[in-house]
């Protein structure tokens, strides 16, 4: 089951690092087995960071919730 709480718990593992670098990772909503997040901070414009985080967060969510489908980034 993909729930807001479980997605938040995964994001919370990387959030302190992002915040310490002046950024953040926000959970906008959870729809079915998908989630939508927003990244803020200095790394937002960097294509490498975008890809790394997108894939990294998505695979961490799947590790935690095998039925997790897609992560959207706004």
């Amino acid at each position: 089951m993909v729930t807001r709480e479980r997605v938040e718990a995964v994001l919370e593992r990387v959030r302190p690092f992002m915040q310490a670098d002046g950024g953040d990772i926000q959970l906008l909503d959870v729809m079915g087995n998908c989630a939508r997040i927003r990244l803020t901070g200095m790394c937002v414009g960097c294509p490498s960071a975008h890809m790394t985080l997108h894939l990294g967060v998505e695979s961490a969510l799947r590790d935690e919730m095998p039925d997790f489908d897609t992560l959207h980034i706004n």
Binding site: R13, F17, A20, G23, T52
Partner: protein
């Protein structure tokens, strides 16, 4: 001929932790030696680097250094690889071929992954080490060799001897000068030094100035366990140098998998290391300990969403002890402020 190797004591990056300094002090002691060295260390801790340095510090430094991984060959191939073969020794042996021992004549041979040598081959290796002579596969001549032997292993050979997987006599032959390389997670204080050096090297090789490194990146690197040790750290730095688009190493440059793993570890390593033994500055041990304690408690409270009983469980202390420690570290106000702040938000 000067040694034409990419590694030298000037270019190698080591760090300054007590553990790695002990290794280098030992290297200095044995630099004049001709004896066999058994280098034990996890993958990526730098066994071959150390072997190269041992060779370069020795009297044999102008002669060949031959490194060979024993894990690469099957039982019959390894014999021909190490000792060579004569023409016609086996199908496909169309001409005489010297082995690695002969190629290393006068110099040093580094037998890496020695634990992977099959038992049958171990006897032959033992004979070579004892008699300092080899016989090529299919040959009848006994060829004397003057080769210094260094061996490397990821596994604990002594343990393998106990399990009957490694010959005891060969173990004692190899284990004349034992050298153990510490895993990177056991010398976390070296991580900032190493990452800075690697990043500088990779950025310069791209023709760019060495970058500024955001402190949180260093913290994340120090909390990660580095199962692939220095090799993994070096690769992570190369990755950053290739992918960074803004010239500053920030948290977005770091592989997300690394961040996730680092995030599961309590931030104990973030506490600054003790000053170097060469700097007799005064530091307050009480303050340092309180700092460490406060860090751990903050982490546990966060990890348990402020639930003190759960936090106490994570820290393996009694609930009442945790309460005392929170007061002792002055975290009480901190914690309440955070909680009321959350409520207001």
């Amino acid at each position: 001929m000067t040694p034409n190797l990419p590694i030298s004591s000037d270019t190698v990056v080591v760090g300054c932790s007590a553990k790695i300094r002990a290794v280098f002090d030992f290297l200095r002691v044995i630099s004049g030696s001709e004896s066999t060295v058994l280098i034990t260390g996890e993958s990526g801790t730098g066994k071959e680097v150390i072997a190269t340095l041992i060779h370069q510090a020795s009297k044999r430094k102008y002669r060949p250094f031959v490194a060979v991984s024993c894990a690469l060959f099957s039982e019959t191939l390894i014999e021909s690889e190490l000792f060579g073969h004569e023409r016609g020794a086996f199908t496909g042996a169309v001409k005489d071929r010297p082995g690695r021992f002969e190629m290393a004549e006068g110099g040093t041979i580094f037998l890496d992954d020695i634990d992977d040598v099959p038992l049958g081959m171990q006897v032959k290796l033992l004979r070579v080490l004892q008699n300092r002579t080899i016989e090529r596969l299919g040959g009848t001549r006994t060829i004397p060799v003057s080769v210094r032997v260094l061996a490397g292993t990821k596994r604990d050979l002594k343990q393998m001897v106990a399990e009957g997987k490694f010959r005891e006599d060969l173990y004692y032959r190899l284990n004349v000068l034992p050298l153990t390389l510490p895993p990177l997670r056991d010398r976390r204080e070296d991580i900032p030094v190493l990452m800075q050096a690697f990043l500088e090297r990779f950025f310069r090789s791209r023709g760019e100035q060495p970058p500024a490194i955001a402190p949180v990146v260093t913290q994340a690197f120090m909390r990660y366990d580095w199962p692939g040790n220095v090799r993994e750290l070096e690769n992570a730095c190369e990755r950053i140098a290739q992918m960074c688009t803004c010239g500053t190493v920030r948290i977005g440059c770091v592989a997300a998998t690394l961040l996730f793993r680092a995030g599961t570890r309590p931030p104990e390593a973030v506490v600054p290391a003790a000053p170097s033994a060469h700097l007799p500055v005064r530091i307050s041990m009480d303050d340092r300990v309180r700092e460490l304690e406060a860090n751990l408690i903050r982490w546990a409270l966060k990890a348990s969403n402020g639930n003190k009983s759960k936090a106490a469980e994570l820290l393996q202390v009694k609930r009442s002890t945790l309460g005392d420690r929170i007061k002792h570290c002055g975290l009480e106000l901190d914690h309440h402020a955070a909680a009321s702040g959350d409520a207001a938000a």
